[in-house]
Amino acid sequence: MSLNPLDHPDLAEVEAELLGKRPRLNAKAQQSIFYQAAFQAGKASGYKSTRVWQTCTVGLSLILALNIYPWRQHGSEQQMTKKVEPPDPIPSLVTPSIPQESLLGIHGGQGRLSFNRESWKTLENKSERFDKEMKKFALLDLHEKAHSLIQLTRLENLGN
């Protein structure tokens, strides 16, 4: 065992006896030390990996920032000359079901307004219209005819 062998046989005997009586920790104490050592090892390795990730993140952020910086400078000059556009208007809750152009007889086409100039031709003259109304009147029953006549008489009296 030893590099320098013992001369005395009695001493070698004591040495052998002591070797057989090596003190040992009980299981609980061994587990306690092992747990603490493993905890420290885990903590150290976790700290190391965290530092590596932190360094990588900082490096990448710097690279990204350096790449973005000239573009941002150029972009800010462009922004100075660019007009500020107003934000989109809030859409109204009530939308007209009938477009105003159709009500006025105006038709929009390719960005400019146009009027239907021939619409006056479709208008009927007064006599034709009166004939149409009289035909409708003839179709009515007696009770309704009488009622209509009373109404017309009243209007005439009021006009006079």
């Binding site: 001493l11 070797l19 003190p23 040992r24 030390i33 603490q36």
Partner: protein, 161 residues
């Protein structure tokens, strides 16, 4: 590469108690010192070539540091007692106690050399470096320690008979 968990567990089993006995004569906080030494071994990268001698060196340094920082004297009466954390085989308990008591009767450098050599498996050269001796001095003191221990054990056996 750091030490493997299996190797660490084996070292704790074989050297935990030995280191505690060895460190008890140096500091009152021997349990904490030994635990800290094993924790440092677990995070040591790369692992030392000869872990037992590395552990003895770390325990020695930590014991000195703890004594300096805490400024407390070593309670010698406590050092005589066998720690509860040691394995107690009912058949060998008495023999173990007697052997440890005999070892405790040795003077500090002799006791430390004996423990480090026999139970720690540290070479004389490393013991010399650890304690500030030459290899030859470490060997001579080891022989002296064995002689004194043999006398003590003979006296103990005569007393028992």
């Amino acid at each position: 590469m750091p030490i493997t968990p299996q190797a660490l567990a084996l070292l704790i089993e074989s050297h935990g108690a030995v280191l505690q006995i060895w460190t008890r004569s140096r500091t009152h906080y021997w349990e904490d010192v030994v635990q800290e030494a094993f924790c440092r071994l677990a995070v040591q990268h790369p692992a030392p070539e000869h872990p037992p001698s590395w552990l003895f060196t770390v325990c020695k340094n930590l014991a000195e540091k703890s004594n300096v920082s805490h400024h407390r004297r070593i309670k010698r009466e406590n050092l005589k007692a066998i720690p509860e954390a040691f394995e107690s085989d009912p058949g060998k308990a008495l023999e173990q106690t007697e052997t440890l008591a005999a070892v405790e009767t040795l003077k500090q450098p002799l006791k430390e050399i004996l423990i480090a050599r026999i139970w720690g498996g540290v070479s004389f050269e490393e013991i010399g470096k650890l304690m500030g001796f030459s290899t030859a001095t470490a060997f001579r003191r080891y022989e002296t320690a064995l002689k004194q221990l043999r006398e003590t054990m003979v006296l103990q056996s005569e007393r028992n008979q």
